[in-house]
Amino acid sequence: MYLINDTYSRTKFFLTFVLIGIFFTSFGIIFTGQHLGKQIEAIMLIHDFYIVLALVTGSIFIGLLYFANIEYQKKDAVLLAKISTLTALISVFIIEITGTIGYIEYRSVDVDSAKSKIKQIFPLAHSPMFETMEYAGLIGTMWTGLITYITWYFKEKIFINNALKDALIILTFLAIVYALFISFMGIVPTKIASVQG
């Protein structure tokens, strides 16, 4: 409290703290997976962790647009908006990469693979549900990229201009709803696989 006097420094301090936390959590999951010989499980845990992180940063961004005190804490609000959108964008890239690694394992021709088991137990969970998640999930990069670009381009104007603020709130809200819909498409097959496996 005595070391950090102004709010901007405090915001930067908390952001650094959170980002270090995210890095160590990711590293910890990978390390544990390697140590226990459960690499694919660790990758899928990373996948889930970043899905939650993207959803949380999206919600923080909407809250920030609604409640930020732009008159007195403009620099803090802009920094938080920039970092939260960038975190969401990086998260979406990690989600796609880890999802792709998981997909290679999922669609293995082995009779014990998740795809083979799901097709035997509940074929609809693979097609259309899992396939919808695969293809619709690709939209996430473009969508998050657009929100991030608008935020970094307009900076403090996103808080001042009502049209921009409303557009970003609608875009982020719809992105969260869409992400939850896609996540549901993935939950059904993975839960079936995990129960049966």
Binding site: L124, E131, T132, E134, Y135, A136, L138, I139, Y153, A167
Partner: protein, 125 residues
Amino acid sequence: MESKTRINSITASIYGVSGSIAAAFIACSISIISIGILTAIRHTFPFNEWLVPTSLLSQYGGIFLYSHLIWIASWILLYSQLKKRITFGQIRHWMIIFIGSVLATTLIMMYVLDWMKIFILFIPR
């Protein structure tokens, strides 16, 4: 007070955006539509071959690769063409186009991936 609110709402509704922002919206919409189209034609010759850069990922790998390439290439191209435009359309219009492209792609996917099989389960017999 009332007139100030009216001015604010009028300003908001006609807020024009620069060419670079319009380029970002258009590039995103094009790449999102491309995902829907590539999903629809993924089993059709010659796309069933083109869309398989690696056998490990099947057509998913191609849709991933080409949709992202379309996104980046169209953004670069549109940005270079539109960056000097001070205003190019209104944010409301670009929002409608973007949401329309997401909706169109989702509907294409639902049709192609045969979601009727799921909906039929909810129809009482």
